[in-house]
């Protein structure tokens, strides 16, 4: 079984483009004919991670690996890191500024959403160094031909 690998550099200085990579991945998955719910789960989880990377960490890189059983998304940034991960995972917790809120983000729902839509999430973070978030979403059926 083949594996498709995609890589994206995420520009942290241009908010208007935040989410473009997630849109591209969604369209690739649709073309591949993956299970619709898996596509939605990947799209939402990656989009939340991509937005976080832009608004909290000044951009970064995203690697996506697609097989017929599993989609793995690895988001890597060199931003400020997350001091208290369990606090950050709580619904409603956000350090976003009013400026970010005026852009439609900062409800403190992104990380909880990632957890909800993903099958596995691992957050590796160090203050002052950066954050790597690994998201895994299982694909229920092997109907997709890679």
């Amino acid at each position: 079984m083949s594996i498709l690998k995609l890589h994206y550099d995420i520009d942290g200085s241009d908010f208007t483009r935040a989410g473009e990579a997630s849109g591209k991945v969604k369209r690739v998955l649709k073309k591949l004919g993956l299970d619709a719910e898996a596509i939605r789960n990947v799209s939402i989880a990656m989009y939340e991670g991509e937005i976080n990377m832009v608004i909290h960490a000044g951009g970064g890189e995203i690697d996506v690996e697609i097989s017929s059983e599993l989609v793995t998304i690895v988001l890597t940034d060199h931003g400020p890191g997350i001091e208290d991960v369990s606090l950050a995972m709580k619904e409603g917790y956000s350090t976003a500024t009013d400026n970010i809120r005026s852009l439609g983000f900062g409800a403190g729902m992104g990380l909880p959403n990632i957890k909800k839509y993903a099958n596995e999430v691992a957050i590796d973070t160090k203050v002052g160094v950066g954050t790597t978030i690994t998201i895994k979403i299982y694909v229920p059926d092997c109907s997709a031909e890679l």
Binding site: K26, G110, Y117
Partner: protein, 117 residues
């Protein structure tokens, strides 16, 4: 309810997707915070929002939301309209504010969704 009916109820202008007004929507979600929308799981929903930036369209794309209604007379710029056109999302614009727009749709039979878990 069709997008055409929503347009009529809200006395809305069509910014793009005039040829797709026959689409059916079964639920509605009103919010200016996109992560709140992303916590919402109903299929075939319409999004009502006061947020006019590309992320409103991208959020709709991620959720398979086929129609966005901008409330309070807000109008997105040409780039946003072009993005929605590429993603085949209908954009409507109403002068009503959020509460009234949602209330009118609700009283005409459109229901809210539910939060996952």
């Amino acid at each position: 309810m069709t997008v055409e009916t929503i347009k009529t109820i809200l006395n809305a202008d069509v910014l793009c997707g005039e040829d797709r007004l026959d689409r059916e929507v079964h639920a509605a979600c009103g919010s200016d915070m996109m992560s709140d929308v992303l916590a919402f799981v109903k299929e075939q929903a319409v999004l009502l929002t006061g947020l006019v930036n590309p992320q409103a369209v991208r959020t709709a794309e991620m959720m398979d939301i086929s129609c966005i209604v901008f409330v309070r007379g807000k109008r997105p710029d040409g780039d946003i309209v072009a993005l929605a056109e590429r993603r085949k999302i209908v954009l409507l614009c109403t002068k009503l504010e959020m509460f009234s727009a949602c209330g009118l749709l609700y009283s005409n039979g459109l229901k809210g969704g539910h939060l996952k878990k």
